[in-house]
Amino acid sequence: MSALALRLRGVVKAFGPLVAVNGLDLEVPEGTCVGLLGPNGAGKSTTMRMLTAQSIADSGEIEVLGHRLPGESKSARALMGVVPQLDNLDTTLTVEQNLVVFSHLYRIRRGERRAAIERALDIANLADRRASRVDKLSGGMRRRLLIARALVHRPRLVLMDEPTVGLDPQVRQEIWALIDALRAEGVSILMSTHYIEEAERLADTVTIVSHGTAVATGPPAELVSEHAGAEAREVYGPPARLAEVEAQAQDAGLRTRRTGTSVALLGLERATGPIPDGEHRPTNLEDVFVLLTGEEIS
């Protein structure tokens, strides 16, 4: 079994009557990217805040790079980088000034500071915008700067909270390439997201969370195979027809899920009876996500 960068055991966090995290178990093996996948309100951001001790767990164990939290969180934070969901850059400062500030906050030695900032600028491909004020940057550049800021001290572990939320597809691909390069360098990454494609492309392992609990963990392909089978069929029609299709599929021993405009019949290879005609496609992580976290918006 590989060494772990991060481990949560039975972590519980409630805010009054609302239980945001409910007995969560989570592991990030060293040098891997783990996707924390869940719908809005599943407890992903609370989990991220607990890992920097900005939120304190009511019970359970959290350990990061050998440091028990919250008691040793300061030492753990010195070894981690955090990319927040909400942009919290200093907008009236330049790109470089933002990095200078964090080179001090992360205690980089004076003689190493300049090289660290140059390296971070290169990683984020922002060297030619170093003198630009942040409020003059595009959304994608600002997100790249947030990542550069988190990497300025060469962290062993990076926490990314919804790193591409709100970005257009081209910028999202840029960020994915950056994350992939980090993973190739051996940096451990915990990335929360509700974008299925993001988790599918980047994560070595995915933990699906629902209502603060991990409901499934494994490599994306294994999760798909285990929970949704290999083949799916999409059947379109009016609501009454979709209800009939669902009933027929259940009679044939298949699991189904609504996509909004159609019903997806999952794991066709497991069918024990006739099934309606429709469009074939491979099953995917979204099928698993909806099966495990529910079709209704909570």
Partner: protein, 258 residues
């Protein structure tokens, strides 16, 4: 299975590198807004000084044995320090916490709430100590005699500014909305600013107001500048600063860490 230990220095409370990090951020940011802050922090008390100095000064020759310009000059310095510190932290820390989310970023680094609050308060106190000298220079131009004791003004301004800056952080950490700051401005700042022996002596006020005035940190600050500062006044300023500092950290931690 436990996680792989990574060698790291054992980090303690109130470390210099963390304070330096917070201060560096403030100093770099200051380069982008120093003009507006400097204008508001120096012009406003100067206007007070001129208005009171010429206005009341034409009616009142001396107060408590001092020329009125001397009396009001020192009071204006005290007021300038309070305004430059309390409003900077009240609004500044609220905006950084609630709107800019700056504190989320800083607390994700190896910086604790105690270091964050202390760094913010030290920076604002240093600024207030410097800005507090502006009305003093203006008062000199209008007849205040220079004295060696005035060299202590930035230091006493820093100590007083530390307390008021911490008070501002405390208010910001307690109140839920920035709109509620007007309650504090009306019901705390304004009485404190007026009932402090700054623009008129406490002697003429009702007894209860005189007693209350002696518990006003600004009263001790204003007296300090008039050359009557004794250990008691300085101790009162330092005690106010120490209490506000700890309260500001306590309430900020409640607000930032949940």
């Amino acid at each position: 299975m436990t996680t792989t230990p990574v060698p790291a220095p054992r980090l303690r409370r109130l470390e210099v590198p963390a304070l330096r990090g917070v201060l560096v951020r403030e100093v770099i940011n200051f380069s982008s807004y120093w003009r507006s802050t400097t204008v508001s922090s120096t012009i406003e008390p100067t206007i007070y000084l001129l208005a009171f100095g010429f206005g009341f000064g034409s009616l009142v020759a001396t107060v408590q044995g001092l020329d009125y310009v001397e009396f009001v000059g020192t009071g204006t310095v005290a007021t300038a320090v309070m305004f430059a510190s309390v409003f900077a932290t009240m609004f500044g820390t609220f905006v950084k916490r609630e709107y800019q989310r700056t504190y989320d970023a800083i607390l994700a680094a190896p910086v604790d709430t105690e270091e964050l609050v202390t760094g913010e308060v030290l920076w604002v106190a240093a600024r207030a100590g410097v800005y507090g000298t502006a009305p003093l220079l203006v008062a000199m131009a209008f007849g205040l005699d220079p004295a060696w004791g005035m060299l202590t003004v930035p230091l006493i301004g820093f100590a007083t500014g530390f307390g008021w800056a911490a008070f501002g952080v405390l208010v910001s950490a307690i109140l839920k909305s920035i709109d509620h700051f007007s309650y504090v401005t009306s019901m705390v700042i304004t009485p404190v600013f007026l009932v402090a022996g700054t623009y008129f002596p406490l002697d003429g006020l009702p007894t209860w107001a005189q007693v209350a005035g002696h518990f006003n940190p600004l009263f001790h600050c204003a007296f300090g500048w008039q050359g009557w500062a004794d250990a008691g006044h300085v101790a009162a300023i330092l005690a106010f600063g120490a209490v506000m500092w700890r309260l500001a950290i306590w309430r900020s931690r409640m607000r930032l860490i949940n």
